[in-house]
Each structure stands twice: as C-alpha cells, then as structure tokens.
C-alpha cells in the first residue's frame, strides 16, 4: 500500500529582511520578501527520505497562505515532493494558530494521509504548536520535535531532545510528526528537480472546497486578539574598544563598574 505523506510547509517573511506588521496588526506578508521556511525544509527532507526508504510513497506538500506561497510549494516540488496543495482564500487572512490547524486538518483529511510531517516551528510565529494541534484534531498520535526519525512498517520511532531529558518515542501510523533542524541537512533542488517541478500538480483549494465557513477562521474568527504592536527601542550604542594588550583587564573594569564582579 502506498504510504501517503503530507508535509506541511509555511511561506514566511525572510528573517534577515525588514519583518513588520500590517495596519491590522497581522504579519505583513506583502511588502516583505518571503520564502519556504528554512525549518520546513527539514520536514520536506525527512518526508522525502522516508518516501525513498519505503519505495512506495506519495508526498504532498501542503500550505495555507496567500498567492505568493506558490514559491514555497514550488521549492518543495523541486526538492522532490510529488504534488502540492495550496489552501488560499481571502477570508483566511488573520487566522490564528488554532484556526490554521482547523484548515490544515481539513485539507490533510481531504488529501488522505498515513503520516503528516511538520517543521519544529515556523520562523515567523515561532509557536511550535501546529503539529500538536493537528494531532489533536486528526485524532492520531503525535511524535514531535524529533532529531532522528525512522518508519518501520506501520510504526514511527524517533529521538526527542527535550528540555530535561532525551526521549525515545514510538507511535503507530497514522501519526503527526515534527522534525528539528538537527534531523539532517535538507537537499538542494537539482536542475532536473526544478524542471520536473514545473510539470507537477499544484491544486488550489478555498474554504468552500474544505467545507469551512469563513466565520470559523480569519481575524474575526480568531480566539486571540493582538492589542498593540510596538518596535522595541533600539539598544543604546555601546562602547567599542580595540584590544591593545590590556583589553581583558579593561573589560574586567567595565564588568566591575556594572557590579557583575
């Protein structure tokens, strides 16, 4: 039986760009360049490795995002993913994490899945909660924050490096997993991969297609509200000293003045 893998990828503003908020206090996704979240490249990589090891698998990349996110899907396709699903609807604008998990879960159910692979966190929201939310909604086990992952038969195993301990996890498919940036370096798309990607299927879905009501999502459907956004005051310019042989001692004096010594 074909192993059906869905890999969830997010299109995010470039971290080194001038990330900011739009007037409605949502993340500005229009005037800042975006890309496939680097942390989701690790998810794509593991999905592909699992598919290759299984010999009979189909990998679908899934994103919930506005138009530009096609780029992220295109990248996943050129890395080797078989097909892509893009959930795109103006009413999705402003959806919070809980709402996003609803949309993703519907799309995953509609696609059909044995394994859902996510990144450890998005690089813009950095919540790291979507995989757990998806497991809750889909009613399947979560094996998350894995730095090593293997599938054998219908079982997923992996290593989770937690805050206080390292754990070895095991769950039976279908399941949701998330992988860290220590799970294995993502591959670069090859020229052949980029050409092949142009012919791959990219399906676009809106809320109607998923049987969702606009009121369940978007800014007005969110269960949290951003009250205010403020830029952090820039740090005051500090003292820069060049070491002329006494730098260590001068620094010790600074630390003493600041009462650290």
């Amino acid at each position: 039986m074909t192993l059906r893998i869905v890999v969830c990828v997010k299109y995010v503003p470039v971290a080194t760009g001038d990330r900011r908020f739009a007037d409605d206090k949502t993340t500005d996704r229009e005037s800042v360049d975006g890309l496939l979240s680097e942390l989701d490249e690790y998810a794509v990589e593991q999905a592909l490795r699992i598919a290759e090891a299984s010999g009979d698998a189909a990998v679908t990349a899934l994103t919930v995002a506005p138009d530009d996110a096609q780029d992220a899907l295109r990248k996943a396709l050129s890395m080797g993913v078989d097909q892509a699903v893009h959930v795109n609807d103006d009413d999705i604008h402003g959806t919070d994490a809980i709402g996003t998990s609803l949309i993703l879960a519907k799309a995953i159910e509609q696609t059909g899945f044995d394994l859902v692979v996510c990144g450890m966190a998005s690089t813009d929201g950095t919540m790291g909660v979507l995989p757990a939310l998806l497991a809750e909604r889909l009613g399947v086990p979560q094996a998350t924050l894995l730095s090593e992952i293997a599938i054998e038969g219908d079982t997923v195993t992996g290593r989770r490096d937690g805050d206080a301990a390292t754990e070895q996890l095991r769950a039976v498919l279908p399941a949701v997993v998330s992988v860290t940036d220590r799970s294995g370096e993502p591959r670069y798309p090859t020229f052949k991969g980029i050409m092949a990607a142009k012919k791959k299927k990219m399906r676009s879905l809106d809320l109607d297609d998923l049987g969702l009501d606009a009121a369940e999502v978007g800014l007005s459907g969110a269960w949290t509200k951003v009250e205010a956004v403020a830029t952090r005051p820039p740090r005051t310019v500090g003292t820069i000293v060049k070491d002329e042989g006494e730098g260590g001692r001068q620094l010790a004096t600074f630390l003493a003045e600041q009462k650290f010594v």
Partner: protein, 322 residues
C-alpha cells in the same frame, strides 16, 4: 478573584525555577493553584514548595501514564482539573513540551492560546500577554477573546518571590482518554548536569561560537564562565561542529535566554542567534572582526582575539573576587 492554574514544571523530583516564576506571576492575576503531575514520591515536597510560592491549592495527580506517554496524559489531567475548577486562566512554562500541552488543552477547551509570553499583566478583559517577536525587534501585546486563556510563559519572564499560602493538596484521579497512550516514551535519559547554572535560569551567560575554533577552545569560555558563576552558551555553528552540546545552543532553534549579562565570544551575531539573546540586559562581545554585526547590540564590545582576551579577563575577575 479566580483561580489561576499553573502547570508545575519539575524534573528529577525537584520543582524547576520557571515554575516558581509562574506562581509569582499568577499572583498578579488571581489565586494561584498549582498542578503537579507525575511527580511520584516527590509530589509532597513539590506541593509544599508551590505553597510557599503562593499556591492556595495544589492539585496532585500521579499515574505511570505521565512518564510512559507523550504530552496527552498531561492534557487529559489539565482538562479534567480545569473543567472542575473553572479557572480564570491556565499558565504553562514555554518549553517544547509545555507549548504542546498548552495548545492541545486550549483546543479541547475551546480557548484562545498565547505562547512565549515575556510578561503577563491583569487587564479589564482578562490577562494581557506581552511577546517579543521577529527576533525581539517588536513587542506585541495580546489578549484571549474566547474561553479560558491558556498562556505559555518564557523562563526568566519575571523573578520569583516566596509568598506563603495554604498549599492545600487535592489528590486527583485522572480518567485518561484513549488518545493518552498514543505515543509511547520507550526510554528517557535525563540530561547530565554540568554543575553550572541552567542556561535559561542564569544571571550571566558566557557563550562561544565558531571563533573558539574547536572543542578545546571552549575551555577559555568555560573558565570565564566559572569565574563569573555563569552558564555556558554556544552558537549553532559551534554546536553543529560538535564542539558543544545542543542543550547549550542559544538562538532561534536553541534556548532563548534573557540574563543580566551576556558575553558573546567569537560569535558574529546572526539574526537567528540574536533571537535567543537580544533581550539580555547587558551585552558584551569579544570578536576580532570590527565589522561583526554583534557589535550593533553591545553595551561593551572588545575588538580582539578571544584567546588573548579571555584568559586575561578571567584572571582579572578572579583577582578582583579574591
């Protein structure tokens, strides 16, 4: 005032510092009620400490499920306790696991979720949480508009102060869901203690990056850290090279620290590293490249070779302390 449920983070039979901070913070919002799950024989001692830090009530549940399975047993327990107690909010420590527990709990309760708060204050319509976003270049304040607010709070968001309360223990027997046994924790290896302060708890963090040029190079970093009673941090470049353990990584995919003093050595200051240390009170950098972006952040920057500077600094610190 309503009850504020605080999920108490503990490890190795001991309450962890962030739990004390959460209890301290919960007092601003209402009456703290601690939840101690799977602590076995240590539960009584942990409950007593929670009482010292302001918990009027301590819900204690013990079952092998908490250790044997991932995340869901804790969600089951919290959901059951919240159902009975109707708290005004639920606070959880922002760790990988804490956020997952909080998320599933929020979804089950039909509640809004806020993660990674760096501050929480009482407001007219429930708690107002502050978050530091986009690598700490913005501060965002948010509220929960539906259900019982579930908020995860970063370590070091606030100090911890004792304020003795009743700490009345209530034993809870959890009826676990079918999903509870979904993900088995086959084995667990507690992290070995370095003997140094915890990275996220420490007042001072001394970090090393690619500039330390090898695993041996970290000894100059560690010696300075020990002279200052500091924790040791590392950049991802140093961790990826295998020079220092991942548990010490500072940054977007490592730990986010907010100490009184952060000393970056041989670290360029990439945005992903900044994301983990930019909220430090005082920042010092030692780097031989005057153009390194880390110097944009510093209160004191020293352009120099860390192998010359650090031993001299360490000796001077020791001399001043003696």
């Amino acid at each position: 005032m309503g009850e504020i449920l605080v999920l108490v983070d503990h490890a190795g039979g001991r309450i962890r510092k962030p739990a004390l901070e959460l209890l301290t913070l919960a007092r601003r919002l209402g009456t703290p009620a601690a939840v101690v799950l799977g602590a076995g024989e240590s539960a009584a001692a942990i409950a007593a400490t929670a009482g010292e830090y302001g918990a009027a009530k301590v819900y204690v549940a013990d079952a092998s499920e908490f250790a044997d399975y991932l995340v869901v047993p804790k969600v089951d327990a919290l959901a059951q306790i919240a159902q009975a107690a109707s708290p005004a909010a639920v606070l959880v420590t922002s760790t990988g696991e804490g956020k997952e527990v909080a998320a599933r709990l929020a979804l089950r309760m039909g509640s809004g979720l806020i993660t990674d708060a760096v501050d929480v204050a009482p407001g007219d319509a429930g708690p107002v949480a502050a978050q530091s976003v986009f690598a700490a270049s913005y501060t965002v304040t948010s509220t929960v508009t539906r259900g019982i607010p579930v908020i995860t709070v970063k370590p070091n968001a606030t100090g911890s102060e004792a304020a003795p309360a009743a700490g009345q223990v209530e034993q809870v027997t959890v009826a676990f869901s079918e999903a509870a046994a979904g993900t088995r924790v086959v084995s667990r290896t507690p992290r070995a203690s370095s003997g140094r302060p915890e990275l996220t708890d420490a007042e001072i963090v001394v970090s090393g990056g690619r500039g330390v040029a090898g695993p041996g190079g970290f000894s100059v970093v560690e010696e300075l850290a020990d002279a200052l009673d500091a924790a040791v941090g590392a950049s991802r470049a140093a961790v990826d090279a295998g020079w220092y353990p991942h548990t010490n990584q500072v940054g977007q995919t490592g730990k986010q620290v907010s100490p009184q003093l952060y000393i970056a050595n041989g670290i360029s200051g990439a945005i992903q590293h900044r994301a983990g240390m930019q909220t430090s009170k005082t920042i010092v950098a030692v780097n031989k490249d005057p153009e390194a972006p880390i110097f944009d952040l510093v209160d004191y920057g020293l352009v120099g070779d860390l192998f010359e500077v650090l031993p001299q600094l360490t000796a001077e610190v020791k001399a001043r302390k003696a």
